[in-house]
């Protein structure tokens, strides 16, 4: 079982340069502490520092040895797959074969306007671009035609990645059609889950059945999950310390414009949100494993503009008290 962390680089009140420096230091710590993967999201909004995660991942590559360097997610509908492959093949060379991509929709839509794409064409864009990106990871010369970008005729895309193929996961939020697509393409699936993992069991079943129907080795395909996470020394202490930051963070979504009410927060924690003592977080990750058969869990470890001291402490508890126990229990 692999364990890791992911970040959108929430801005908080920290200047951008400092926030990125903190992230690079946290990646270095995670690497030294033996975590398996760090993933960076792509957002095009002022409340997140990361719109070009591959650049920060390259900086992380230079100060780490073993940790895998992933996006979480690459908004593939509004990116050109050829350019994405070039960037991540380069990152793979820089890092000695540690690059990964999670392709997905993301939580927001700003990139559509910025790059001149029609949000209503989302499905077609994603379908075509995933197809092309996967082809590029598997074939050195690609001939491809579609409706959302110019065709390629025996195109040589270089450099090639160290890994053959470069891993491309499909990130899924719960939409059934997305799980079917991931299975149909035979790509590993990452499922975002914030509370109870049980409802995602049917999503994983759908994914594996779609993969089998398309002729892929369904049982061999990997499933990962991840969501918001905060680890504290004690259960109550963790809940109280994290609440104001989480309430503000979810206040950016339409449902809680005044911030998330404490009762709803406590309800989410009871339902499965990974906030609590190390033992609680261990139990909740094991529940993801039991329910979904995941071979990787990644927690968003710096939610809501927390001070760097809080982020570091939670990360330390995750790496030193949660991860070893989960590894032991799943080995």
């Amino acid at each position: 079982m692999e364990l890791g962390i992911y970040s959108f680089g929430d801005s908080g009140t920290v200047p951008t340069g400092q926030r990125i420096a903190d992230l690079i230091a946290q990646a270095r710590y995670a690497d030294e502490a033996g975590l398996d993967v760090i993933a960076l999201g792509e957002h095009h909004r002022p409340d997140f520092t990361l719109s070009a995660p591959e650049v920060v991942l390259a900086a992380m590559a230079s100060v780490t040895e073993r940790i895998r360097l992933s996006t979480g997610v690459t908004v593939l509908s509004t990116a050109d797959p050829v350019r994405v492959y070039e960037q991540f093949a380069t990152l793979d060379q820089v890092s000695g074969g540690r690059a990964e991509i999670i392709a997905g929709r993301g939580s927001f839509t700003e990139s559509f306007g910025l790059f001149g794409f029609d949000l209503r064409a989302y499905d077609l864009l994603f379908e075509e671009r995933l197809d092309l990106l996967l082809r590029l990871t598997r074939e050195e010369r690609v001939t491809w035609a579609g409706r959302t970008r110019p065709p390629l005729e025996d195109a040589l895309v270089t450099p090639r990645a160290v890994q053959d193929p470069l891993p491309v996961w499909v990130g899924v939020g719960g939409t059934p059609q997305s799980a079917v697509r991931a299975g149909r393409f035979g790509a590993p699936m990452f499922v975002a889950i914030f509370t109870d993992p049980a409802p995602a069991r049917s999503l994983v079943e759908l994914y594996r059945r779609a993969a089998a129907a398309a002729g892929h080795d369904a049982a061999g395909l990997r499933v990962a999950s991840g969501g918001h996470m905060y680890v504290g020394t004690t259960s109550q202490g963790a809940r109280d310390a994290f609440y104001p930051y989480y309430a503000e963070y979810l206040g950016r979504l339409p449902q809680f414009p005044g911030g998330m009410p404490r009762e709803v927060y406590d309800q989410w924690i009871r339902a499965g949100l990974l906030v609590g003592s190390p033992q609680e977080v261990i139990d909740k990750i094991m529940n993801h494993r039991d329910q979904l058969g995941i071979s990787r869990y990644v927690g968003q470890f710096d939610v809501g503009g927390m001070p760097s001291g809080m982020i570091d402490k939670s990360l330390e508890l995750f790496a030193t008290e949660v991860a070893p126990v989960v590894r032991k229990e799943t080995s």
């Binding site: 839509t109 059934p176 979504l253 009762e263």
Partner: protein
């Protein structure tokens, strides 16, 4: 009436909690006549429509349900409708044969159909598409049907839609105007995971409540029976515009998963006088 934060806010554990109704079981009594009424409830008649016995075609009894939209919300509602014993059709954005696997896994027992066919053969049509794709709903096939709007304006997914952005009316009033048919607003204020996890039999102290807003009390009553049969306490509101309080960010109702008593108390605090 005060809120009791510790009563019944426990989340369901996997596998916990029976489904509210087994196939073949008739509709539960409507909540229109029992328990305290919300201030905003109209004093309309007990619904008479569709009370003339169960239909027999298809599997299950009671009003036929069609769910338009086979995404996160639509598949959960189709599953709950099947579990409530209702003959249930489901439609995605196109050819129903493409839905086979999704329906097999997520809503076994529902019948995949083209959207217009699903709506035409149904008594109750639940519309669960992204609002950005509302124009793809076959509005003509909705005429004469009871139409339930479960949708929310959600800019992070839909993008900014000028009709809904900064609207002062209930989003369902706009949906009604776009589709050209009366609608009942319901199911919108609980998340799809929560709808799936919180079904409880009538009388269970943990049962959650779902508000329904509509102009015609008889129509609202028919949908209330479905809500009840699916495992939730129905709380009718009148008129359709009163459903504004159920929308994201309008009050503490959206996303809160409240019991009936909690929902009624919250409604009173939002609109102490009649709405």
């Amino acid at each position: 009436m005060t809120r009791t934060p510790d009563s019944g806010t426990r989340a369901a554990a996997p596998g916990e909690g029976p489904r509210t109704a087994v196939p073949g079981e008739g509709p539960q009594a409507s909540a229109l006549g029992d328990g305290p009424r919300p201030a905003a409830l109209g004093d309309g008649p007990r619904p008479a429509a569709l009370a003339d016995g169960p239909r027999t075609a298809g599997s299950g009894d009671g009003p036929r349900v069609a769910v338009l939209g086979a995404g996160k919300v639509g598949t959960v509602l189709a599953r709950l409708a099947v579990a409530a014993g209702r003959p249930t059709a489901i439609a995605g954005s196109g050819d129903p044969t493409a839905l086979g696997l999704i329906v097999d896994v997520l809503a076994p027992g529902a019948t995949p159909m083209w959207a217009a066919d699903a709506a035409a053969q149904a008594d109750i049509v639940i519309v669960a598409v992204p609002l950005a794709r509302l124009e793809t709903v076959p509005a003509a096939a909705l005429r004469g049907r009871i139409v339930v709007d479960v949708m929310n304006y959600w800019p992070p997914v839909d993008g900014v839609l000028s009709q809904w952005e900064n609207a002062t009316r209930s989003s369902s009033e706009i949906v009604r105007d776009v589709l050209g048919v009366d609608v009942v607003k319901s199911f919108n204020h609980m998340g799809y995971h929560e709808l799936d996890a919180w079904t409880r039999p009538a009388g269970d102290p943990d049962r959650r409540a779902l508000a329904l807003a509509g102009d015609d009390p008889a129509t609202v009553g028919v949908v209330a029976e479905l809500v009840d049969a699916m495992g939730f306490d129905p709380v009718p509101l009148h008129p359709l515009g009163a459903g504004h309080v159920l929308q994201p960010g309008s009050s503490d109702i959206f996303g809160a998963n409240l019991t009936r008593a909690e929902l009624l108390a919250t409604l009173e605090s939002v609109a102490p006088a009649n709405t």
